[in-house]
């Protein structure tokens, strides 16, 4: 697995090892555990790449060819109906998240055989997704995936302007990159460009993949035209032409030249160098945060002990300061602490704001739809109105959800900042407590906290997994096709032509309008109800994640402060000879942790 990691990551892993070792020497198993968790995250940073595009552009084929596996069944006609997540696992494993047939709020996580995955996601065996699968996941032992890459094959049914296209939008804020597929038979259509323009706003990396270059002699001209269209819209997007059929033949024959012709090596290179490496940088910054935090804590314990040993006269004063620091750390763990209040208030504000936003959006949608129905005859709209409603609703939900994710991130940062304030108070107390020149703390004092990566970065990386963004995406998909009026009774009106009694026609029309309005309102209510439940659950999950992470941090700080205090108290009983040996040991250990810090700063400067 490690052969997939870049030198920077390897170096980061080594540094984390060194930090863990330092913590182990001081019996701080909590900090050792933190270093280990950071290592796992750094090794596979979790890069989600959404594969999007109009249907029949070869999305499933691309995923299959990229990984040399038959994951999604490829069919000329039938399409993928369920979003499929492909990630790393050794040995291969798969599961589906399936709605309970009785209660749509209950989701079952069912393990399935990896070779059966196709039958859960394809229209041929799961028509109209009657199995109610929200999302299918498969893990495969592939080198490309081992660096944390996760591909999402999206259902492209019905075109980008449709509700399915909208539900894909909902997945974009969760993703690190979008691969947008368009085949080489023709240049971008208006709806494709529209999608791209929106995607660029929602996702940091968007690339265009032109498929089926083996079939269209004019593909180079189409590529140039596409580039021209992008330039006209100020979209600076990389474009990779590929041929899946050449790739598959090349793999079958182990033919390197043909593989190069397929364009796939370019695509892999793009994923590695642009997508995975961006995620890697974020992961490195997060790992550095962990190292700093571990090193800071180890250092402050040792510093405090050293300060007292070096200047026993100030022992009483220093001990008092440490007691204050410990009290502060203790307080961090209680429910009354300030960060707790910020978090709880923030979540409840957010919950009600998001709910209110969703409700006012749907209220407006209902009003608009009802006005449309009033203005005409529902019979004429039976085909176009429900998809229109679906699409508008998906749009509203996607925006609402994007809002939720952004504000949740802001909240997490706010809580952590607040928390970080407490933490720096703690260390600041110690710093003032040990103003001894002999400690050579110059380097430490120069180290400005602002130089560090943004607060909240670690929490965000952890939080993304609990977002349920992909789940939301899957859930949105399951609403599509729900909005039907049922067979509208036209009565004999149509056959009677214009001679029908006027009153009777009017009466029937009023009845049809009522029926249609009720149908639409019920659909919107059902969807809103489930989405708002999902949002609440998501926010609860986010709250739990933020709380647990910060609690762990608080408990580490408490241990640190406690240890510093008990060390200080112990030094009262030390003899001079013992103190001398102890000082030498401490200097060595301090030197070790400082070197770890320096290495981390160097790594950050060079590689991120």
């Amino acid at each position: 697995m490690s052969d997939e990691n870049t030198p920077a990551v390897k170096r980061g892993l080594d540094i984390l090892d060194a930090a863990a070792e330092a913590a182990r020497r001081r019996d701080r198993l909590d900090l050792v555990e933190r270093a280990e968790a950071a290592k796992a995250r750094l090794r596979a940073p979790g890069v989600t790449v959404v594969v999007a595009g109009e249907f029949k552009q070869g999305k499933s084929t691309l995923v299959n060819s990229l990984l040399n596996a038959q994951i999604s069944p490829v069919d000329d006609d039938l399409a993928t109906t369920v979003p499929l997540l492909v990630g790393y696992a050794d040995p291969a494993s798969a599961n589906v998240l399936q709605e309970d047939p009785e209660d749509s709020d209950v989701i079952h996580d069912r393990p399935i055989r990896p070779e059966d995955i196709g039958s859960w996601v394809s229209e041929s065996t799961n028509p109209g997704n009657h199995l109610k699968v929200q999302i299918a996941k498969i893990g495969l032992p592939r080198r490309l995936l081992s660096a944390g890459l996760e591909l999402v094959d999206t259902p492209g049914v019905g075109g980008l302007e449709s509700a399915h296209g909208r539900s894909t939008m909902a997945a974009l804020p969760m993703a690190e990159a979008v691969l947008f597929l368009t085949d080489s038979s023709q240049a971008f259509t208006a709806s494709e460009l529209g999608f791209l323009e929106q995607a660029v706003g929602l996702c940091p990396t968007v690339a265009v993949v032109m498929t089926k270059t083996d079939l269209y002699p004019e593909w180079r001209r189409i590529r140039d035209e596409n580039q021209q269209y992008l330039r006209e819209r100020d979209l600076d997007l990389p474009m990779v032409p590929v041929s899946s059929s050449l790739r598959q033949t090349a793999i079958g024959r182990s033919d390197e030249t043909l593989n190069a012709e397929s364009g796939y090596p370019e695509l892999v290179k793009f994923l590695r160098e642009n997508v995975v490496s961006d995620a890697e940088k974020t992961a490195l910054r997060a790992a550095a945060n962990d190292v700093y935090s571990i090193v800071d804590q180890l250092e402050s314990i040792m510093e405090s002990e050293r300060a007292i040993l070096a200047d026993p006269d100030r022992a009483a004063e220093l001990t008092r300061q440490m007691e204050t620091a410990k009290e502060r750390a203790d307080r961090l763990r209680t429910a009354a602490s300030r960060w707790h209040t910020t978090l709880n208030d923030g979540i409840s504000d957010l919950t009600s704001d998001i709910d209110h936003d969703l409700r006012s959006r749907t209220r407006q949608l209902i009003a608009e739809v009802e006005a449309t129905i009033e203005a005409g005859d529902p019979t004429d709209m039976a085909e176009e109105l429900p998809p229109m409603v679906e699409q508008r609703l998906m749009e509203d939900i996607a925006e609402n959800y994007t809002d939720l994710s952004q504000r949740a991130e802001e909240l997490a940062a706010r809580v952590e900042e607040h928390f970080a304030g407490e933490e720096s108070d703690l260390t600041a107390g110690l710093k003032i407590a040990a103003p001894v020149k002999a400690l050579e703390r110059a380097g430490r004092l120069e180290f400005d906290i602002a130089e560090r990566p943004g607060f909240g970065e670690n929490l965000l990386t952890g939080m993304r997994s609990s977002y349920g963004g992909m789940l939301m995406f899957g859930m949105l998909g399951s609403f599509i096709g729900m909005a039907t009026f049922g067979p509208l009774s036209l009565g004999a009106g149509v056959l009677m032509g214009r001679k029908g009694a006027k009153d009777e026609k009017q009466r029937q029309l009023t009845f049809r309008r009522q029926q249609a309005k009720q149908g639409i309102r019920k659909y919107i209510d059902d969807v809103t109800f489930r989405v708002s439940k999902h949002s609440r659950d998501t926010l609860r999950g986010i709250q739990r994640e933020i709380r647990d992470t910060n609690m762990e941090r608080a408990s580490e700080l408490q241990t640190t402060a406690g240890e510093a205090l008990s060390n200080a108290q112990r030094t009262y009983k030390t003899t001079q000879q013992e103190a001398k040996t102890r000082l030498a040991d401490l200097d060595k250990a301090l030197d070790h942790v400082r070197r770890v810090r320096t290495a981390t700063s160097e790594l950050l400067e060079r590689d991120t």
Partner: protein, 491 residues
């Protein structure tokens, strides 16, 4: 009185009513329209292969085709005594335009006018195919230049209830997108007499690409077309869905000897060698000095046949299924789906041309009366109403439409029989009765009698709802018409 006679009679009333009226010329134009061939518009999204299919139907490379959007102006192709191109500008009189043919395709000189100034182009071309139906090439919808897109929509589905200039439409699509359905819907407007799936046929154009140019691609496309045909949404909008490999069809009807010779040379290569060439377009046109067929010639083949056409032709040649150019042409036309499309066109559109044209004329006349009523309109109104009420063909169309909308309470089996009887499977009497053309007259008569009784009983049943009663009445009248026709033939 036949429907065509009835329509002529109606227009005679209109002529009288509009004598000396500013709109007199419009009435005269309607009379001409009734006598002209059926007007069939070819519509669809950008790059759906509209011009290519038009060429295949005409049997000549007439409309320019290339990989970028090329039809920018609505272009009429009609039969003429001589070769002539006329520009109809947005403002002013029609202008004759000079033209050249480049590789067969027309290169029309707009005389420096921007295409936005041209409303329509009219191409008159002596051609047997165009004598049967006038074809109208339209710009693609979902075009990136919105004004081109808007032009197609304006022509095919004008707003404000202005009737369309086409009597029927061939709608080309690559797959069934939501946008395609929306478009087909807009072609049908609310007026009961006009909205009908009877005048639309959907074509899965570029059908070979659905199966990514594999040799069995057309079988795959046929399966897909069959599935679409069964969908209620599609059935409401069009008669049927057919797969056609447009480029292959065009090439099949215009294949020349030198192309055939080159294909034969390629087919004679080693199996491995030819497989290697056919892997991708880049390989197919690459510079191999040892090959007799030059890269430029191979590139031309690719432009004409597409990857599927090249693969298919070479496979046919290697298996000795064809040995001459004309055999290859016949085989390719057959496999492209063109023959099937032609026969459906003649069954569904040509055989019903009178009904479709009469319908267009009635709608146009209604619109004219509304827009600029004649001084004395009562007699014309009465004639119009009488014609609409008495034309059983219109009632049939309305009923077929209602059935497809799912608003008649028939069982699935009844729907099948009723649709067939209304001519959904072909306008010939035998087809309406659900038997082969060869079946004897006596047997046909017996069948018609049986059906007549069946629908009469259904209409009289106290359990039938009002819509079923009404529908059954129309169906039994259809049977009466068939019986009268059969009686006339036997005499």
């Amino acid at each position: 009185m036949s429907l065509a006679d009835g329509a002529r009679d109606l227009l005679e009333h209109a002529r009288v009513a509009y004598q000396g009226h500013p709109a007199e010329a419009e009435v005269t134009a309607l009379a001409t329209r009734l006598n002209d061939p059926l007007r069939v518009a070819i519509a669809g999204k950008v790059k759906a292969g509209k011009s290519t299919l038009l060429n295949a139907l005409v049997g000549e490379r007439l409309a320019p085709t290339d990989a970028s959007e090329c039809t920018r102006v609505v272009t009429w192709y009609r039969d003429g005594v001589t070769y002539r191109v006329t520009l109809h500008p947005m403002q002013g009189e029609p202008i004759p335009a000079p033209f050249r043919r480049e590789d067969g395709a027309l290169d029309i000189d707009l005389g420096g006018r921007p295409h936005t100034d041209i409303n329509e182009i009219e191409v008159e071309w002596p051609s047997a195919s165009l004598r049967r139906m006038t074809l109208i090439d339209t710009p693609g919808i979902d075009s990136l230049s919105t004004d081109i897109s808007a032009r197609a929509e304006k022509f095919l589905a004008p707003e404000d209830d202005v009737p369309t200039a086409a009597d029927a439409v061939l709608y080309l699509m690559r797959h069934l997108h939501a946008g395609d359905v929306r478009f087909l819907e807009s072609f049908h407007d609310e007026e009961v007499a006009q909205a009908t799936p009877i005048n639309a046929i959907a074509v899965l154009s570029r059908a070979d690409e659905i199966g990514v140019a594999r040799l069995d691609a057309m079988a795959s496309a046929r399966r897909i077309a069959h599935r679409y045909r069964g969908q209620t949404k599609v059935r409401r909008l069009c008669q049927t869905v057919l797969p056609v490999a447009g480029l292959l069809a065009e090439t099949a009807v215009t294949l020349n000897e030198s192309e055939f010779r080159r294909l034969r040379q390629l087919a004679a290569l080693d199996r491995d060698r030819i497989d290697e060439l056919l892997l991708s377009v880049d390989r197919f046109v690459a510079d191999y000095p040892d090959l007799e067929v030059l890269p430029i010639e191979r590139s031309e083949l690719l432009d004409r046949f597409g990857m599927f056409g090249v693969r298919l032709s070479i496979a046919l040649l290697r298996q000795d299924k064809v040995t001459t150019a004309s055999q290859l042409a016949i085989e390719l036309a057959q496999r492209s789906g063109l023959n099937e499309l032609r026969s459906v066109l003649s069954e569904q559109f040509s055989a019903r041309a009178d009904v479709l044209k009469a319908r267009s004329v009635v709608v146009a006349l209604e619109d004219l009366i509304l827009r600029s009523p004649p001084a004395e309109s009562e007699a014309l109104d009465t004639a119009l109403e009488r014609f609409q009420a008495s034309a059983h063909e219109f009632a049939e169309i309305r009923l077929l439409n209602a059935i497809r909308l799912g608003s008649v309470g028939f069982s699935a089996e009844e729907i099948e029989v009723a649709e067939r009887l209304l001519g959904a499977g072909g306008n010939a009497v035998a087809h309406r009765l659900g038997v082969e053309l060869e079946v004897g007259l006596d047997e046909q008569r017996a069948l018609a009698l049986e059906l007549h009784q069946r629908w009469q009983r259904r209409g009289e049943s106290p359990l039938s709802t009002r819509d079923v009663v009404e529908a059954s009445r129309i169906l039994s009248r259809t049977c009466e018409g068939i019986l009268a026709g059969l009686a006339a033939v036997s005499r």
